[in-house]
């Protein structure tokens, strides 16, 4: 067999031909006979008690299917981690987009007027909208203290260090909500049959999350709920948990009407009602020695979870573990808190808490550098984690990562030194200011801590009647290349051609639960299981003597056909087993937080027009170590796409809130980068490999979201000599800062240096 010939090569994307010819089938392309269209009536106020629901005259209400909370056969919740989020509000509403009534009609255009004609009268209750209001507890909107979850990481003795520090550097950093803005809006079709139960087809990331939610809601056994993923037009975390809500609504309408029901959100509803990235506030207080070594620190990381707990505890956990960045902390105390407000629940978005806490860390490193008089390069060099040292959770770094070398290469690729010097010289005159900035960071692959053990994912591989091999996973394709890469792995493991392997469309009737498609886990964790299930097929065929130690692809196919001819089925399953020597303490938040980390250094070059205060990113170098690069084209695509979203996070994408409601829920006024806004994004890899992943894989999907925002704001500080600590940073914010405090840095240095 020819080793390593498929993993690492740019094979054609499995579903690529359908996508470039317009033949790929997305949810809204599907129509079922007698199908109705569904719509949602939402609360209009952020918090209150429902007193009366009125169906106004002027609508032929008898033509509509109407569902309220009392039509729910099972439990009125969207089951996830906790069960606090109702499927339909019945007594109280806790945010302005809370679903209350569902309507269905055969004419989709008749629905809009009907939705507007349902009046939900509420007695309004006081509501809260910011982290600070939530902390003040003047109103308790969730639990006994507005706190969904707290975590704490304690490493060493923090308190004894402060008196020995040459410098104590403090900073506060904020990030805003960000909309995932997949171009395909959320949508589902549900059908119901008393014998077969509920079937839903949808645009989604996690078939078994939807499956679990529908079982609880409809009070149905596992075999009476079927979830099928359609081609999914982008997700980025935005189709991790919210699809369960839409599936639940479509299912309730289908059960009540006895007809299939399609619910597709339009852009305005999708942007207003579905999840966004958690807004965050991070406070750093760091003890630093005279020669620029971090001695200790306190980090407080707080996120706004919105009205219900949903995934906030997990987002908090990942944010907390990444809060110390890729640096060595002899001691540190990191405390995290997710708080409730009366906004729609915030949720999963690529990076999942890490982009927030790493933004703070990397801005703070530049602040430390400035305060103690070192360069941004030198401060990082002196504090980088090295193999053998322990992370903030006391995980020993076993990977042979050399961050200094990574940094050195990124500096070279970006021509950092020459540019920095030139910009400093040229910035003295003219109406343009230029700057260059760095961010160094890491991202853990797979579920945090014990997560993968609890998930206990299962993967199947089966032989087909034509002699080919089919991969059976619930891992979904939504652009990242799941289908392609998992087929590459199976082909590589079996010594077959890429064309010999296909992959099933995720359908809970056909595929086992290989876990959700999140957390940069697909290639590393699920891929490893695909490899081992594939080897099981090989063992079976060897055991019966149909193949020997070596074989050609055609011999394998013949063997597979012959085995199936005789035994009807050839299948192999693999279940996740935690790697040996991995230890995690859920209580103390200590141990091996992730089986592997990816590492990166990003460098951004910016220019600011002093007439309009607009910023453009002129060059972007993204250098990372992600283990083995399985597919050079897909890997570059992941990084470049993530960097683009990171640039949007930093400079363009601002959610305007009013009383818990998004005001700019249109593509016209919520601005994501277009092709003319972005710099050349130059992507480079180092490949160290990874013993835990299939063929050396680690995670890649989320990593590129972490670095762009701090690199860009560090570059802006270099350009303007003013520190900005909050994103999104729009031209008006820059204008305000430059006109209000022209010598901000000087005064800050005076106040911080001791």
């Amino acid at each position: 067999m020819n080793r390593e010939r498929i993993v690492g090569s740019a094979v054609p994307r499995k579903e690529g031909r359908e996508k470039v010819t317009g033949q790929a089938r997305y949810l809204d392309d599907m129509v079922l006979p007698d199908m109705l269209y569904g719509a949602t009536v939402r609360s209009q106020i952020p918090r209150g008690r429902i007193e009366k629901i009125e169906f106004k005259p002027g609508i032929a209400w008898d033509e509509f299917v109407i569902v309220s909370a009392k039509d729910i056969p099972g439990k009125n919740c969207i089951a996830l981690i906790g069960d606090d989020q109702p499927c339909l509000a019945s007594e109280f509403v806790n945010h302005p987009e809370e679903p209350v009534i569902l309507l269905a009609h055969r004419d989709r255009y008749a629905l809009r007027k009907a939705v507007d004609s349902v009046s939900i009268e509420c007695k309004s209750l006081p509501a809260i909208f910011t982290i600070e209001e939530s902390e003040r507890c003047s109103e308790i909107v969730w639990g006994s203290d507005n706190v969904f979850k707290t975590y704490r990481i304690d490493k060493g003795d923090v308190d004894e260090v402060w008196s020995k520090a040459a410098y104590i550097v403090e900073g506060e950093y904020r990030t805003g909500a960000q909309e995932q803005l997949y171009i395909e809006n959320n949508g589902m079709i549900a059908s119901y049959d008393a014998g077969k139960g509920v079937t839903v087809w949808g645009s989604l990331q996690c078939p078994y999350y939807v499956h679990k939610a529908l079982m609880a809601l409809c009070s149905l056994p596992a075999e009476k709920v079927r979830v099928v993923q359609m081609e999914t037009g982008g997700a980025f975390g935005g189709k991790e948990e919210y699809p369960s809500m839409i599936a639940a609504h479509a299912a309730l309408l289908a059960i009540k009407s006895g007809r299939p029901v399609k619910m597709v959100y339009d852009r305005a509803e999708d942007m207003a009602a579905t999840t966004k990235r958690h807004p965050s506030r991070t406070r750093h207080r760091t003890a630093v020695s005279a020669d620029g070594k971090i001695l200790s620190g306190e980090i407080e990381f707080t996120i706004d979870g919105g009205a219900y707990a949903t995934l906030s505890s997990v987002v908090l956990s990942r944010g907390l573990i990444h809060a110390g960045g890729p640096y060595y902390w002899p001691s540190v105390r990191i405390s995290g808190k997710a708080v409730a407000t009366n906004a729609p629940p915030h949720g999963a978005f690529r990076g999942f808490g890490a982009p927030q806490s790493l933004f703070a860390m990397e801005r703070h490193m530049d602040r430390i550098a400035r305060v103690i008089g070192l360069s941004p390069i030198e401060i990082r060099r002196r504090n980088f984690l090295k193999p053998g040292q322990m992370t903030t959770t006391e995980q020993v770094v076993r990977e042979p990562i050399d961050l200094e070398k990574l940094l050195g290469r990124a500096l070279g690729l970006s021509d950092y030194h020459a540019k920095r010097e030139r910009f400093a010289r040229e910035n003295r005159t003219g109406t343009t200011r230029r700057g260059i900035g760095i961010a160094a960071f890491l991202h853990g692959a797979g579920f945090t801590g014990s997560g993968e053990r609890y998930l206990s994912s299962v993967v199947g591989v089966e032989g087909c009647a034509n002699g080919g091999i089919r991969v059976l996973v619930s891992s979904t394709e939504f652009g990242q290349g799941t289908k392609t890469v998992l087929c590459q792995i199976a082909a590589e493991a079996l010594g077959l051609r890429y064309e010999d392997v296909t992959i099933a469309q995720p359908d809970t009737m056909q595929v086992p639960n290989s876990g959700p498609t999140v957390a940069s886990r697909t290639v590393m964790v699920v891929g490893k299981l695909v490899e081992s299930a594939a080897r099981g097929i090989q063992q079976t065929l060897r055991a019966v003597g149909l193949i020997g130690d070596s074989y050609s692809a055609d011999e394998f196919r013949a063997a597979c056909r012959s085995y199936i001819g005789e035994h009807r089925q050839l299948r192999s399953w693999a279940r996740y087993e935690p790697p040996l020597g991995i230890f995690w303490d859920d209580q103390k938040y200590r141990g091996e937080a992730y089986a592997a980390y990816s590492w990166a250094v990003y460098i951004a070059e910016v220019s600011v027009d002093l007439t309009t205060y607009s910023v453009s990113v002129k060059d972007f170098v993204a250098l990372q170590e992600v283990g083995k690069v399985f597919h050079p084209v897909l890997a570059i695509g992941q990084i470049a796409g993530g960097v683009a979203q990171g640039i949007g996070f930093a400079l363009y994408e601002k959610v305007i809130w009013q009383k818990g409601r998004m005001q700019n829920n249109q593509m016209t006024n919520y601005i994501m980068p277009t092709s003319s806004d972005l710099p050349p994004i130059r992507v480079f890899f180092e490949e160290l490999g990874n013993v835990h992943g299939a063929f050396g894989a680690k995670g890649i999907g989320e990593l590129p979201m972490d670095g762009p925002a701090p690199a860009i704001l560090n570059a802006l500080e270099d350009a303007l000599r003013v520190p900005f600590d909050s994103i999104p940073l729009l031209p008006e914010d820059i204008f305000e800062a430059l006109t209000a405090q022209p010598s901000a840095i000087e005064s800050e240095i005076a106040s911080e240096a001791r």
Binding site: L181, I183, E184, G233, R267, A644
Partner: protein, 168 residues
């Protein structure tokens, strides 16, 4: 523009789609996008925003690139329309489709039909565009997956192939 409803008066409207003469019954202000997707089953054009911002519903109408979510179907009377379904010749992909496949120009695929048509439109006006012209030419079509880098590469590759083909 109004969305279609069962209650609106409908009339016959004819136009050419992908080289074929078609007659539809629609109310005059019905969106071309809905007619293409609903009545003609041409679901390659996608609705991303419904307000002409994202370009995922792009089609070619009399050689111009239009957002079909903003075109009342009456305006398409007698027009010559090309959708993504009309770009490939039988089994032979268009050079842009090939290049998008090879370069990673399509990830989730939802913007891809519109993006490829926008690229085809650009190349019909400027057969040998600079990178800056490609960036500008595609700026009406949003992609959230790629960061556009590999889309630019795909367009450039299709151009190079066309040049080589015409040279040889």
């Amino acid at each position: 523009m109004i969305h279609s409803s069962e209650n609106h008066v409908k009339s016959e409207i004819s136009f050419t789609v992908n080289g074929e003469q078609r007659v539809v019954r629609a109310s005059s202000m019905e969106r071309l996008l809905d007619v293409l997707r609903g009545q003609l089953g041409l679901t390659g054009a996608k609705e991303g925003c419904g307000e002409g911002e994202c370009g995922s519903c792009s089609v070619l109408m009399n050689g111009s690139l239009v957002n079909s979510c903003l075109v009342p179907v009456l305006q398409a009377e007698d027009a010559n329309i090309v959708t993504i379904e009309g770009l490939a010749q039988e089994a032979q992909l268009h050079a842009l489709q090939e290049a998008f496949l090879e370069c990673g120009g399509a990830q989730c695929g939802i913007c891809t039909p519109g993006m490829i048509l926008a690229a085809a439109h650009l190349l019909s006006k400027k057969p040998d565009p600079t990178l800056e012209e490609i960036r500008e030419g595609l700026s009406g079509n949003l992609c959230r997956c790629t960061g556009y880098v590999q889309i630019f590469e795909a367009v450039a590759r299709a151009v190079r192939r066309a040049e080589i083909a015409s040279f040889s």
